[in-house]
Amino acid sequence: MADANSAVTEAGEEPTRRDFLYVATGAFAAVGGAFAVWPLVDQMNPDASTRALASTEVDISNVAEGQVVTIMWRGKPIFIRHRTPAEIEESKAVTLDELPDPIARNANIDPAADAEDINRAASDSEKWLVLVGVCTHLGCVPLTNQGDFGGWFCPCHGSHYDVAGRIRRGPAPENLPVPPLEFLSDTRIRIG
């Protein structure tokens, strides 16, 4: 290629200015190509209108003791459970070694915290339990007040959750997660 050129390359000689230009041009084209492809990839991610619905506020004044309501947050169901004292006692009596997943999965506290009842309930009031109602196995919505542990039961592949939303039996690997949560007043919470 370089025979008509003054910078004739022979075996073992230093790379020439032309070699440098080839490599630099190739690298530039590769980086440019990657930049050009990124919009084609990123358009698949959630759009602005989806991201704008990232948080939601709920009035919980009409949720009676023992009742569970389901609301939507980010297109997913959220369970809000107003627990009875008996349910709280039952949940507190569970020891960590009975739990397949011993981690709290609570977005409001230390990610390494253990899954004791106190780390699962809302930090301002232990009677409130707020959970993302999506089975951690393959994303079905568990059925409330069913299953062998009185909490939730996922009909798809048979995962049983207890009254604190902790996985007790079945294929689900993790406890139902507690979403970011804030009490705006005694009767109003914000999720997200």
């Binding site: 698949m44 989806t50 389901t70 009909p155 798809c156 294929p171």
Partner: protein, 440 residues
């Protein structure tokens, strides 16, 4: 193509065209005068039937897209409108939805045919691999299309499958969000699934072209597994196999028509006529029948394997169940192709067919109690067929004598003696290691 062209342009224009773009020559050499083994049985008609299925799905699909609306608020109603208002809409939709089932029925018979007669072995490895790619694209297309009616099973089936990607370590969750375009399956998901469902069949058509090309380089395998040696072993594709294929296609079309006209919903799920509701999961989520064996494998892994969680393990097992097919040509160590001459393999083949059918049945059962244990046993059996039976049999099995040529086998079968006196499966050629020469 691997054989010499016999095309003769019949007029001035054909000659002029042949010198510029030899389309007619390629068509003639591929579909008219292609030398084909003369002993192909009806299990070899599914290639033609599958081409028909692909054409039916593309034609009905393009028409359905003219009447369908890909929006979460309108999709379900637009499908009902197709069923009730659009002229012959019911017919087109039932042909399309049952057509998917017929497509998979044909492809499974086609694949088992290849497995029985050793059609994946040298020199047809690339042909087989292209076939597995087509099968993968088919499952992807069927899965994408199943979301479009926006029924309960559409939504929750898609939910389970996209959640599989969430099981991948580190990148799982962002990947899942990226795939569905949101925090849950919604309008963005429906639109992209529609777009891709329209694209994939044309990708399948492209790979089918390569598949047929790769078939025509070595030529067809045949029930003896012995390669074609001379002209005596073959007949021209037309009219011998065009007619045979046409007859088989007619029988297949009768079965197809039975489902479309007499039982159009028997292969579906009633709950998919309930509009999708992200707050209510159907009590029993099952995929369409043709994916049930893989669903059973997915659910069979209920235990952690070292650092791999049960969830990820199930996903890996399910994809491995298909991916293992890519390695089949090298897992099978036997030099004899056809199960006709492999007494042990023949038995294991039918056991394997049984294992697949039982896995399919288990995939439709609830994931609890004895069903889980059974699914685990049959999943192990599925993989054992490929990883243990295939490699070991080739080493320990004593095959029956293999005929010296296709012609010999055909004559022997018809009870006529042949010049070298090897009729009736007698002693003459063969022997345990009588690997048929591949090129004559």
């Amino acid at each position: 193509m691997a054989h010499e062209s016999t095309y003769q342009p019949s007029n001035g224009f054909a000659k002029w065209m042949d010198d510029r773009l030899p389309l007619m020559r390629v068509a003639h050499d591929t579909a008219i005068n292609f030398p084909t083994p003369k002993n192909l049985n009806y299990w070899y008609t599914f290639g033609g039937i599958l081409t028909f299925c692909l054409a039916v799905q593309i034609v009905t699909g393009i028409i359905l897209a003219m009447h369908y609306t890909a929006h979460v608020d309108l999709a379900f109603a637009s499908v009902e409108k197709i069923m009730r208002d659009v002229n012959y809409g019911w017919l087109l939709r039932y042909v399309h939805s049952n057509g998917a089932s017929m497509f998979f029925l044909a492809v499974y018979l086609h694949m088992f045919r290849g497995l029985y007669y050793g059609s994946y072995k040298a020199p047809r490895e690339v042909l087989w691999i292209l076939g597995v790619i087509i099968y993968l694209l088919m499952t992807a297309t069927a899965f994408l299309g199943y979301l479009l009616p926006w029924g309960q099973m559409s939504l929750w089936g898609a939910n389970v499958i996209t959640a599989l990607f969430g099981a991948i370590p580190l990148v799982g969750e962002p990947l899942q969000t990226w795939l569905v375009g949101g925090f849950a399956i919604d309008n963005a998901t429906l639109n992209r699934f529609f777009s891709l469902h329209y694209l994939f069949p044309f990708m399948i058509a492209g790979v089918v072209f390569l598949h047929i090309w790769a078939l025509h380089v070595p030529g067809n395998n045949n029930p003896t597994g012995v390669e074609v040696k001379d002209k005596q072993d073959t007949v021209p594709f037309h009219p011998y196999y065009t007619m045979k294929d046409a007859f088989a296609l007619t029988i297949f079309a009768i079965l197809f028509a039975y489902f479309v006209f007499y039982d159009p919903n028997v292969l579906g799920h009633a709950v998919n006529y309930v509009e999708a509701n992200p707050l209510v999961t159907p009590s029993h989520i099952v995929p369409e029948w043709y994916l049930l064996p893989f669903y059973a494998i997915l659910r069979a892994i209920t235990f952690d394997i070292g650092p791999i969680s049960a969830k990820l393990g199930g996903v890996i097992a399910m994809f491995a169940a298909i991916a293992i097919l890519f390695f089949l040509p090298w897992l099978d160590t036997s030099k004899v192709k056809s199960a006709r001459y492999r007494p042990l393999y023949k038995q294991f083949f039918w056991i394997f067919v049984g294992v697949c059918l039982v896995l399919g049945w288990l995939g439709g059962q609830p994931a609890e109690g004895g069903y889980v244990l059974a699914a685990q046993i049959f999943t192990a059996a599925y993989f054992a067929f490929f990883l243990i039976v295939m490699p070991v049999l080739g080493l320990i099995e004593t095959p029956k004598p293999v005929p010296t040529s296709i012609s010999d086998a055909v004559l022997a079968e018809n009870g006529r003696s042949h010049s070298d006196g090897s009729s009736g499966g007698g002693g003459a050629p063969a022997g345990a290691t009588a690997a048929p020469d591949r090129n004559a």
